[in-house]
């Protein structure tokens, strides 16, 4: 590797290493609720929404934020997200999971 390229790579790695790891927010999806159902996030703060389901295939869909995940039993679904606008944004389960499916949702509140 040429010296200039090596130095550039080293600087980039150092910059990456200095960034704090994004905050991980665990969220449980179960019939028929998200826990927690209200997420308070700070504008510009990178987070990872980490979903797990306690029973069946669920979905996380926040169309106004362009976020979506399939939440499958036995595995975590991670959604990296950095809020770029303030406000309240609804999300819902978008995989039909039973008689309370229609009420299964929550809200992401982004504040400055």
């Amino acid at each position: 590797m040429k010296r200039r390229a090596f130095l550039a790579l080293s600087v980039a790695s150092a910059a990456w290493a200095d960034e704090p790891a994004p905050r991980v927010i665990p969220i449980t999806a179960r019939k028929f609720e998200f826990v927690p159902a209200e997420l308070a996030l700070k504008l510009g703060e990178p987070v990872v929404l980490e979903f797990a389901t306690e029973d069946v295939h669920m979905g996380f869909d926040a169309p106004s934020l362009g976020l979506h995940a399939d939440i499958l039993p036995g595995r975590l679904a991670r959604v990296p997200f950095t809020p770029s606008k303030e406000g309240s944004f609804e999300f819902a389960c978008d995989v039909f999971c039973g008689s309370g499916h229609e009420e299964m949702g929550g809200v992401i509140i982004v504040h400055a």
Binding site: A92, F96, H101
Partner: protein, 293 residues
């Protein structure tokens, strides 16, 4: 069937219902001009088996709607149910019991030509297995007096997709139609993203609309949102029907997608069914109540 006198139809439509005219592209071709006029009826979201405060007469509403349809004179050529025939249950035996009861109830309709399709409450928890045992295929097409009808299944996949296999079938089915064919699509969910925050969408509905777009005369009738709604994607019209169990609020009008409360002073308000008159160059829609005012 005998031709329907236009004045007679409007008289029927005037019995507490609303009339909505839906124009078709008027072509210079002979295809649309050679067709018979007829009418059919759309019922939707009956949710048989539902129990709860939003409809204290849940067990009586569908029978009342059937009586109202049976009272139509003349009778429609056929009747369609655009999904959510039954209310969902985790118990497969209970699901079959509800489907059995629903089948028995609709056998009391005077019009024997009945076209069914599932909603997510019927089919999403078992990929349509129980539904197919009772009513056969969940997607199909048929012709009636010059109109090509296509029933699309966007519910057997619990993620609300039509799926590539069915889309390929749709493409092949459409390929046999001339571009000026009169096409009616019957489905449960909206094919366009009406309000995805409330799951009022079909994930790959845009692919179906893309396939339909080259056809000049396409109209979609659907259910799912428990209220009348009219929308256009380019020249394609989409008409949602009322429910026969409880109404839902307009998209995004309230924080939660909860049923509109039952009003004892106005029972069955917001519930009803639709009569669709297929004329040469338009569909005339009449929204009829469960109980005449």
């Amino acid at each position: 069937m005998q031709g329907i006198d236009r004045r007679q139809f409007l008289k029927v439509a005037g019995l507490g219902g609303l009339v909505f005219a839906s124009g078709l592209a008027r072509g210079a071709d002979s295809y649309t001009q050679a067709q018979d006029e007829f009418f059919f009826v759309q019922l939707s979201d009956t949710h048989w088996g539902f129990q709860g405060a939003p409809n204290p007469d849940a067990a009586g509403t569908l029978p009342k709607a059937i009586a109202a349809v049976n009272a139509l004179d003349p009778q429609p050529d056929f009747i369609v149910f655009t999904g959510d025939l039954t209310h969902t249950t985790d118990d497969p035996a209970e699901r079959r019991r509800r489907l059995t009861q629903f089948k028995e109830l609709i056998s009391g309709l005077r019009t024997k030509q009945i076209r069914l399709m599932p909603g997510e409450h019927d089919a999403s928890l078992d990929s349509g297995e129980a539904y197919r045992e009772f009513f056969g295929q969940t997607h199909y097409s048929f012709a009636h007096k010059g109109v090509h009808f296509i029933a699309l299944d966007n519910v057997s996949d619990p993620t609300g997709r039509i799926g590539d296999e069915q889309l390929a079938w749709l493409a092949a089915d459409l390929a046999r139609q001339p571009k000026d064919a009169r096409i009616v699509v019957l489905t449960h969910r909206p094919l366009f993203p009406l309000y995805p925050q409330w799951d009022w969408a079909t994930k790959d509905g845009d692919k179906a609309i893309e396939l339909l777009m080259p056809y000049k005369n396409v109209t979609v009738f659907y259910g799912h949102i428990h209220q009348e709604h009219h929308f256009k994607t380019a020249h394609i019209e989409h008409h949602a029907a009322r429910s026969l169990i409880f109404p839902l609020p307009a998209a995004g009008s309230v924080p939660k997608r909860a049923p509109v409360a039952w009003d004892p002073a106005q029972p069955y308000r917001g519930l009803g069914f639709r009569q669709i008159e297929a004329e040469r160059d338009e569909y005339k829609l009449a929204e009829l109540p469960v109980i005449k005012a």
